[in-house]
Symmetry: none
Subunit: 205 residues, 4 copies
């Protein structure tokens, strides 16, 4: 009742709107989300939303930018700066990260990308350039270091970083769709990494 009708908070608006958009997209997907709803969730008028984001598509892109890149970048920074052995890194920070992904905003983004990607080639390219290629590149480098240092053997596995990402993406999608019949995605991810490391170290398993 006594709330001022106006709240001048230029600084925070874009983030608030982006966060609201993430929620809305998570619930309904891109196409089925009304801009009205995003505005309402953000506690903001539709007009203001359009002041910061020229189109619904812009908003979508902004969501992608805000919620995935920072996480990936953090992980990559750890690879680059730490001096852990490759195995330690994979079993430590990488595994932690991988387990967090299903259930995090990233999973929402994955769904949005799968659903809307074919209609937004530029966004897919952006996503590839800034997320996927970075991520795969970082793992590649990690494996290469492991091979160089003699920690890992060189094999077809050490050349396919996708093998490490695979269980994460799969878990995201599985959880998303079949939350009623969940599988133990933590165990899945862990098992896969065990398998891969085991192979790379030449162990009998």
């Amino acid at each position: 009742m006594n709330q001022p009708r106006y709240q001048r908070r230029k600084e925070d608006r874009p983030e608030e709107i982006t966060a609201a958009a993430l929620e809305a997209f998570a619930k309904n997907g891109y196409a089925a989300t009304r801009v009205d709803e995003v505005a309402k969730r953000a506690g903001v008028s539709k007009g203001l939303l359009y002041l910061y984001f020229k189109t619904k598509e812009e908003l979508f892109k902004s969501v992608v930018r805000s919620f995935v890149m920072p996480r990936i970048d953090t992980l990559i920074k750890i690879i680059e700066t730490s001096d852990m052995s490759s195995e330690k890194f994979l079993r430590g920070p990488f595994l932690d990260f991988a387990r967090q992904v299903p259930g995090s905003p990233i999973s929402v983004i994955v769904r949005l990308m799968v659903a809307e990607g074919p209609k937004h080639p530029d966004l897919v390219q952006f996503y590839w350039d800034n997320v996927v290629s970075h991520g795969l590149g970082a793992i590649n480098e990690l494996l290469w270091h492991g091979v160089q240092s003699g920690e890992f053997q060189r094999s077809t596995v050490s050349e396919q970083p996708a093998l490490f990402v695979m269980p994460v993406i799969f878990s995201v999608i599985f959880n998303l769709l079949f939350s009623k019949q969940p599988i133990d995605t933590d165990r899945l991810i862990e098992t896969q990494i065990d398998l891969l490391i085991s192979h790379l170290k030449g162990h009998t398993t």
Copy 2:
């Protein structure tokens, strides 16, 4: 171009329409596909389409139902009737199947399910009941037989059939999104199966 795609045989109409819908959904996704376009593709008037499918959603569900079950069922039948060793089966029919999936209609369905699934819980349930649980169940049984016969060792791997499905789903999605930067999905799938069998047979790799 202007010719109706399909002949005027009453009995086949529903399937013709469903096939046309699959094409259209593949190109644009569910939300962005106009019923008009499906009708045109099927060489049928919009009115007639609505005679067979009460709503666009019905049509969608019908598409999902029609294009996956037959394939999965074929695979399962092979498991049940053949007397190959588990390894032979995995390296033979299963691998063949797995490689075909990316690029087949199944990949379209996967995309549709990921995008639209959260809005259609009953469809997801249907998909789980008729496709996913069957598929996972069949692999489970296959692994169990391998363990029973002494061909495979029992381990956490033999209890997680998802490990076998994972590369297929991942490849589908990867191909779908990043067709401009393709990875070698055949090799990915094959490597994963090698890894898994290798582990199950207790080999040094």
Copy 3:
């Protein structure tokens, strides 16, 4: 109450809608006319309107096409086919036509062109090509015949057909704006034509 909700009248719809649009544009101008209102005036749903006219602009163009060209063409045909003397034609059919214009749909079109022309260069060009240049050309020819036959003297007047059109356009605009303080446009037009003919015939006036 008992009216059928549907009226299948494909043939007549476009004209009905165009006529309704003319009325609406006449009342409010282009920008301030809502497509909704045109549809309502035409007794048609908005959706149907968009079936025949892709955009509001299309509708606008269609109005211009339908209500001016036929009239001009009729006049031109009379020039071409009749064998009246030039003076007779100017004092007869031309004067009749000129007097009818203010108050006819053409006056609405003139207003629309003045108001919206600068935003629609292609429409202006269309209008020039199909209406103005034809009209001026026809008068030009008429004057030239008059000179050839010795009926008129050659002078700067016989080379400026705009002198004949001028009072018509002026009257249209004057009537449109100052309907509360009307001037006698019939007399204005007649006087101007008298003046011009008088001059062309070399009379003392």
Copy 4:
């Protein structure tokens, strides 16, 4: 480009804004001009603009008021104060004025009046009272003096001052619309005045 167009002098603000509005209206017409743009052109914030003009309509009216009246008044003053013969006046100051009009702000105003007039009856009335009736009245008086002094003969021409204004208005509109296919408006105006004077003096032409 990014510099404010006008200096920050309080007293001049309204005029600066009005001038900016004239430019903007000239470019896009009334409806299509955004208040934002006017403010930017004037180097002023939107808020300040609204301090001086309560609504966009007010601004519009102010533009109309500001740019025509001074010119007309100047002309009228010349009529009243000079002791030229009527013919001299028409061929001198009046002709000069008439030739300047197309291309001056007046032509913008004419366009705005034609387009928006029907929506703003009070503005039209204002325009009539302060511009048109004055202008026509002044010419009327001029002609009347000419008749009184024996310079002109009395006729239907001497009672229709609109005959003198006509070519000006026509030229404005013609230029506005068909700048790509220009006619010689100077010659048109001159010819018309020649014709009229010739008639009034009873000459053979």
